[in-house]
């Protein structure tokens, strides 16, 4: 009885161990390989936007122009947060150094490797080769995974609609197709917004830093953050004071994508393992029951 129990436990632990090993393998393999992750094409030649926080006056023109261009309600009321009614807003932050508060335009960063695109259950979000991260509202099931995958807290859900959808800046793709720049950029009276190819904007940003000593911190936010973003920031104070998250260079979806790519291998391994153990344990059981059956027969012969 006890030996049988011990045997069964060993067998079970062995099986559980091998099953776990298959999953472990995928986790370990998730480590070093960072290149060729699948979330969309990476092109420095895509469109981007450079936001110069030192030039922004916080006039809200961009936020109102955005509301109008996207047909949002209350187009004359300046928003104070991202929502299904506001795809961009001016985040006014009190700064430690100066008396004047800082105005930080916030919107979708249009990441080079967007975590929202990687996470979206139905592939409703895609990174276009031209730069914008676009949303196909017809596919969306409203699971809101994108809201948690995004490190910038950008996608918003239309909470008051029983059939609500996700809302976010799409870089005015329709205007881009007609050769125009996004509504926010064309509305800015202060020259704080610049639209162009991401690679050009990076060159210009670094040129501004070097030709204006003391005006900027020596960093272009978005050049490397979370694998790089199409929207870039220049500022005179550290970016953490602007409410922009401190992110490493690693793409957000790195580990998840590497694990997900192993799905077919894990499926095949577990299925093969389970089938093998099925036959192995079945044969042993048959063997046991055969010996159990033959023994009493031999006894009978002896009698």
């Amino acid at each position: 009885m006890t030996s049988q129990q011990a045997l069964s436990r060993r067998g079970f632990l062995k099986a559980a161990g091998t099953g776990a090993a298959a999953v472990t393998a995928t986790c370990v393999l998730a480590g070093p390989t960072s290149s060729a992750l699948a979330s969309g094409p990476l092109s420095d030649n895509g469109w981007g936007m450079l936001i110069d926080v030192t030039r922004c006056t916080g006039c809200d023109s961009c936020a109102l122009a955005c509301k109008e261009a996207n047909g949002r309600s209350n187009p004359t009321v300046a928003p104070s947060a991202l929502s299904s009614d506001a795809y961009t807003f001016i985040d006014v932050r009190g700064s430690a150094g100066s008396a004047e508060p800082l105005a930080v335009k916030r919107q979708c960063m249009h990441c080079q490797h967007p975590a929202c695109v990687s996470a979206c259950t139905v592939g409703a979000l895609t990174k276009s080769a031209d730069g914008p991260v676009v949303y196909d509202s017809k596919k969306c099931i409203g699971c809101r995974y994108c809201q948690y995958a995004c490190p910038f807290g950008v996608p918003t859900y239309d909470w008051n609609n029983p059939l609500g959808l996700i809302h976010k800046c799409q870089m005015c793709v329709e205007r881009l197709a007609e050769g125009e720049v996004p509504a926010c950029v064309s509305s800015c009276p202060a020259g704080a917004l610049r639209f162009g190819r991401r690679s050009d904007l990076l060159v210009q940003a670094h040129a501004r830093i070097s030709s204006n000593p003391g005006r900027y911190v020596d960093q272009v936010y978005g050049e490397f953050e979370a694998g790089g973003t199409s929207v870039l920031y220049l500022a005179g104070v550290p970016f953490s004071q602007l409410g922009l998250p401190e992110l490493g260079d690693q793409t957000i979806s790195h580990y998840a994508e590497t694990v997900m790519k192993k799905t077919p291998v894990v499926a095949a391994s577990v299925a093969a393992l389970a089938t093998g153990l099925y036959w192995l344990t079945k044969r042993r059981d048959l063997h046991l029951s055969e010996t159990q059956v033959t023994l009493p027969q031999e006894d009978r012969h002896d009698h």
């Binding site: 776990a20 799905t263 389970a274």
Partner: protein, 390 residues
């Protein structure tokens, strides 16, 4: 044979008195009705006014209970794997109550998900539009397929009761296919139980390092086996008690001890991971996060492991009941910590679930429990191969 018990004899502990059973059913029925109403209100009005969810706290108790239920419902694949794949026949009688609980659990999960989806009318879209990089896509697909597997595994419980020529033919067909069905079920479960952990890998900025680790898929997979063995113990004890049958000691002590050994492996992984990443100090320096970790791992893992593995304790009869319950509590806390308490929130963000969220959750779980109880009463929960007939 079932309705002749006398309520006047409360001392008999062999079976729950019928009146209490009826009261339990009435109570469960009430939660189902109220919860159903709450769910309908949420579907008609939308989530804005009926839930406490916001853009910064977009997943609440619906998701936390969903992932808890999926881990608990791991009882189905764990027991099918143990007995139908690995031929551990001594646990045979515990398989059917566990698989029935698995089906009840997954159906409850699907109902909760419908409430949580922003576009419940498009729930089937993941079948049409694929994103193979998305953990949630893989989970949705596996849950759909595995629920089908569970229906096939539960079907014989009903067919054996019918004794019609058609159902007997169907039964033979299903019995022939059962090894394949079991292997497919174990494979699908291994995939989505681990991918539930991979889901959180897309939130390195949101999940506290006490829980965020690249081995999350492994931790979720191992803990689902632990939860599955624990729930299988309880569903076996419950179903034998409901039917007034003696519970086999071998099962009642054997399954929790298997769970304890899986728990030792799980605990080693969790502690080893924190040691390797150099984050072990967070166990006492992370404030509320440390508290939630200790509630999960101290109360829900270390104590039940000690109860089940210390010789002087494990022979006590109450341990077979208390230890699996504590292990289930630990897995539940883990899923709640990953979804709620372990999340790093933007300043000022709070979440306190609304009445509608609570009522709909309780109602849907109540429906699952009720379906399981009715299944135990009316389906062939101990099949002809079991030894209860003799």
């Amino acid at each position: 044979m079932t309705t002749n018990l006398h309520v006047e004899q409360p001392s008999s502990s062999a079976a729950v008195p019928v009146l209490n059973r009826r009261m339990a059913m009435v109570l469960l029925g009430a939660t189902v009705l109220v919860g159903g109403l709450a769910g309908v209100i949420r579907l008609l009005v939308g989530m804005g006014s009926t839930t406490a969810l916001t853009d910064a706290y977009t997943w609440g108790i619906w998701i936390a209970f969903d992932f808890t239920l999926i881990a608990f419902a791991g009882a189905g694949f764990t027991m099918a794997g143990l007995v139908h794949v690995l031929h551990r026949e001594q646990y045979h009688d515990a398989v059917r109550p566990a698989i029935l609980a698995g089906l009840a659990g997954y159906v409850s999960v699907l109902l909760l998900l419908v409430l949580d989806l922003g576009r419940p009318d498009r729930f089937y879209n993941f079948i049409i539009f694929w994103n193979v990089h998305s953990p949630l896509f893989e989970i949705s697909f596996c849950v759909l397929l595995y629920t089908t597997v569970l229906i096939l595994e539960v079907a014989p419980f009903l067919l054996e009761r019918l004794h019609l020529p058609v159902t007997d033919r169907l039964l033979r067909l299903l019995r022939g296919a059962m090894p394949v069905i079991a292997v497919v079920g174990v494979t699908l479960s291994s995939l989505h139980q681990s991918t539930l952990g991979a889901l959180y890998l897309n939130m390195p900025h949101r999940l506290h390092p006490l829980w965020y680790t690249p081995i999350l898929p492994l931790l979720f997979f191992v803990s689902s086996i632990m939860a599955g063995l624990s729930l299988a113990t309880l569903t076996y004890m419950g179903s034998t008690r409901i039917l007034g049958l003696p519970a086999k000691r071998e099962i009642v002590t054997g399954l929790p001890r298997l769970a304890a050994w899986v728990g030792v492996f799980y605990l080693a992984l969790k502690l080893g991971d924190l040691l390797v990443s150099g984050e072990i100090a967070l166990l006492w320096s992370a404030g509320a996060y440390s508290f939630w970790w200790w509630l999960e791992v101290g109360v829900g893992l270390m104590i039940p492991i000690a109860l089940l593995l210390i010789p002087s304790l494990r022979r006590r009869p109450w341990v077979s009941l208390a230890a699996p319950m504590l292990l289930l509590f630990g897995v539940m806390m883990n899923r709640f910590n990953a979804t709620m308490f372990g999340q790093i929130l933007p300043p000022g963000v709070t979440y306190s679930p609304s009445l509608i969220e609570w009522l709909s959750t309780i109602g849907i779980i109540g429906a699952g429990v009720m379906a399981w109880l009715l299944g135990v009463r009316f389906l062939a929960i101990f099949d002809s191969k079991g030894s209860h007939h003799g």
